[in-house]
Amino acid sequence: MKSEALSHIRICDFTGQLAGAGATRWMAAFGAEIIRIEDPVRLGKWDVLRGTSPFADDRRGHEFGGCFNNHNVEKLGVTLNLRTDRGKELLAEIISVSDAVTENFAAGVLERLGFGYDRLKEIKPDILYVSNCGFGHVGPYRKYKTWGPIVQACCGLTFTSGLPDMPSAGWGYSYMDHHGGNFMAMAIMAGLIHRSRTGEGQWIDMSCTDAGATMLGPAALDYTVNGRPLRRDGMPYSNRSQFPAMAPHGIYEADGHDAWLALAARDDRDWQAIAGLMGINDQRFDDLAGRLAYEDELDDAVRAWTSSRDRFKAASELQAVGVPAAGVAKPEDRIDNDPNTEAWGLWPTVTHGEMGRVRVDGIPAHFSETDWVLERGGPLLGQHNRQILGGLLGHSDAELTDLAAEGVI
């Protein structure tokens, strides 16, 4: 069973890592035919995740990368040696029956492989081409190299995480690889919608740093309108609320090893509920102005209550009086012990050709008519050569045998 949402769409896909592969992952979950092109000579290693940890067991190599499997579920895998003329011809055949070509190589790489936008248009005049790299294909930094943490640093996101007078804590993972992929999916689908309406293709130049920089709007306007920079004394203070102001608003020590509780008072009603539950009786905290003026003392008073309590039980007590609160979830808490993620079906099990059955990230949206389906793991190297080159393009078994012998596929 596949989702019918995007089953009318076929993509010739060069994306890799997460910042690219995440884009076509979404579309694959909704039934698009994603044909992932890989290099047989280098065993698909232009996506380094093919062979890197985490691993499900003791086996290692290009078929065992846990992240590769996670990011490439429901895609098809085709190998083409683009150093050969025959490999280039086969790629052109795939492009000629595709709606879009997608990649997140460094700027200029696909062109050097002989498939720049002009060539793509020759093959298919209405093709949609979406490129995605750290700084985009236009601008003085177009050749600069990035990965998630570099993107996050340069677009302002890293700076916003942390405490005053401390180094930036940053994001402890490649947040912008996820959103690089998500914004790329947005760009692809916008391009497909435009194409279906007008019949017109185009080259969309997606930049992860541009995408990341769109995510800090009010702070940016505070500078461009009011002249107040975020780089100033006392800022950032990321567990406290900036826009709008709230207090208390933070992550507080709870009972147990590295155990934490998040809670906030959105208004005076929330505060009265918190103060009642915690037995805090201090007139300085009666209104927001007072709570902000004495926020350190306020945090101490809250911590005195939270620090001896189990984070989840304390969150339940706060929820019972209508206050937003949550234990800081460790991976096990949210993946194996959260009734909501279980009810959602958030961690589906896929079947991978070598790794077997493996749990992966699900999709955070459910569609009433054409919901996502994640059943098949990431493709083995060349797993779908016969299906695509034979079934779709019509090359015979004998031809495919020759192509394999000649090192083309």
Binding site: S168, A169, G170, M184, I251, N340, L346
Partner: protein, 413 residues
């Protein structure tokens, strides 16, 4: 038409958005893509008009920069959904819509008789995107939530913070829990629009911010799913199973940089040698000898040998320290440009306002001027996440005043 006058990809699509703190970013993006987004707020204004910061720090429903940013390119109408006449107007408005976007508490719209179940009967093509903290039906769907608790419950917070675990883990800034949910709400609307092209039918989409946070934590989830390992937070770098070495340094001008991955190839060692010599830092760096040794390598250093082979360990350590030493002796921007021009991937840790001043973002046309004709001024806004020459994403106009486009609903009556 010049590129800037072209309609966007979603031109001709009408989106009715019930004003909401979490969904505002989704509406902004749909409007940026050219949809006609009509944001519906109560007659006395949505509460987010009371959010800081304000123009010149003067609180006023028309001066909230939060409202300005998140509602740019949208049209604004007012309705009292507690009033049956206005609910009928809302029903009439929805009848003209392609997409409804809302982030109301589960159950509220059903209670008011204006939910998808009630309205879809006459409108099979309608797409309805609901964005809520835990989805509409799960066991936690009635919990009180804000951005902080979504990110705490959903995984991102666990992975962010400092090496010192006596310091609480950190939530990154910018309400990313809401925004991550919004990003998926946009993908959902687009996917449902493409599905409607082929099936002719609309549908209901239930987006969960908690689920969205859960599946955007990279190794935090995958390590556990695949290998049952729990990552641990570290200052300024990926949470990991085993501690990794520093990637942050403080440049001579007091701005943090990300020093990237230490050089491992002969080429990269040679680059660092040349850079140190050109800066006159060679004699101040005691381990310079090991950099020269690295420049003679015949194959790249293998990480597995670090800590095993003394020479490899010395070269690797010297390279890492050399990059840090350079960064501490020049400005952050000189370091960023100097390294990247030499092919070394490093980053400068910009604050949001510094991004807008950077020549690269300016050349890409990222900062854009938005006219506020009512104030006789224009202001610089954040621009597009991608450049689409035939169907540009752009800020089309300033956010609406309260009830500015109520003529839209009057015309329906």
């Amino acid at each position: 038409m010049t590129g800037n006058d072209l309609p966007g990809a979603l031109a001709g699509i009408r989106v009715v958005e019930l004003a909401g703190e979490a969904s505002a970013y989704a509406g902004l993006m749909l409007a940026g893509m050219g949809a006609e987004v009509i944001v519906v707020e109560p007659p006395d204004g949505h509460h987010t008009r009371g959010f800081e910061p304000f123009l010149d720090d003067e609180p006023d429903p028309e001066r909230s920069l939060w409202w300005w940013h998140y509602n740019a390119s949208k049209l604004g109408v007012t309705m009292d959904l507690g009033d049956e006449d206005d609910r009928n107007r809302f029903r009439s408005l929805v009848a003209t819509a392609d997409v409804v976007l809302e982030s109301q508490r589960p159950g509220r719209l059903a209670y008011l008789g204006i939910d998808h179940d009630t309205l879809r009967a006459d409108h099979a093509e309608l797409i309805w995107v609901s964005l809520t903290p835990f989805g509409r039906n799960g066991p936690r769907s009635q919990e009180e939530s804000i951005d902080l608790t979504v990110l705490a419950a959903g995984g991102p917070v666990w992975s962010c913070g400092y090496d010192d675990h006596a310091i609480p883990p950190q939530r990154g800034g910018g309400n990313q829990g809401y925004q991550t949910g919004s990003v998926f709400a946009v993908l959902s609307a687009q996917t449902a629009l493409l599905a409607r092209d082929s099936t002719g039918r609309g549908q209901f989409v239930d987006v969960s911010m908690h689920a969205a946070a859960n599946v955007t934590t990279e190794f935090g989830s995958v390590q556990w799913l695949v290998a049952g390992d729990e990552v641990q937070r570290q200052t300024g770098r990926h949470a990991a199973i085993e501690p990794t070495t520093f990637t942050r340094a403080l440049s001579a001008d007091g701005i943090d940089v990300n020093t990237g991955f230490p050089p491992r190839s002969a080429r990269d060692f040679a680059v660092v040698v040349e850079w140190m010599e050109s800066l006159g830092l060679k004699d101040q760096f005691e381990e310079f000898f090991f950099l020269e040794m690295g420049a003679q390598l015949e194959e790249d250093l293998h990480l597995s040998q670090v800590g095993q082979d003394p020479e490899v360990t010395a070269m690797f350590g010297a390279a890492r320290e050399a990059v840090r030493f350079i960064s501490e002796n020049i400005t952050a921007y000189e370091f960023f440009i100097g390294a990247q021009e030499r092919g070394l991937a490093v980053g400068i840790i910009y604050s949001p306002e510094e991004v807008l001043a950077d020549p690269h973002f300016q050349e890409r046309g990222f900062p854009v001027e938005v006219e506020h004709e009512d104030l006789g001024r224009s202001f610089t806004y954040l621009g597009a996440p991608y450049i689409a020459p035939k169907s540009p994403y752009r800020i089309r106009h300033r956010a609406p005043h309260l009830g500015e486009h109520n003529s839209i609903i009057e015309a329906l009556a």
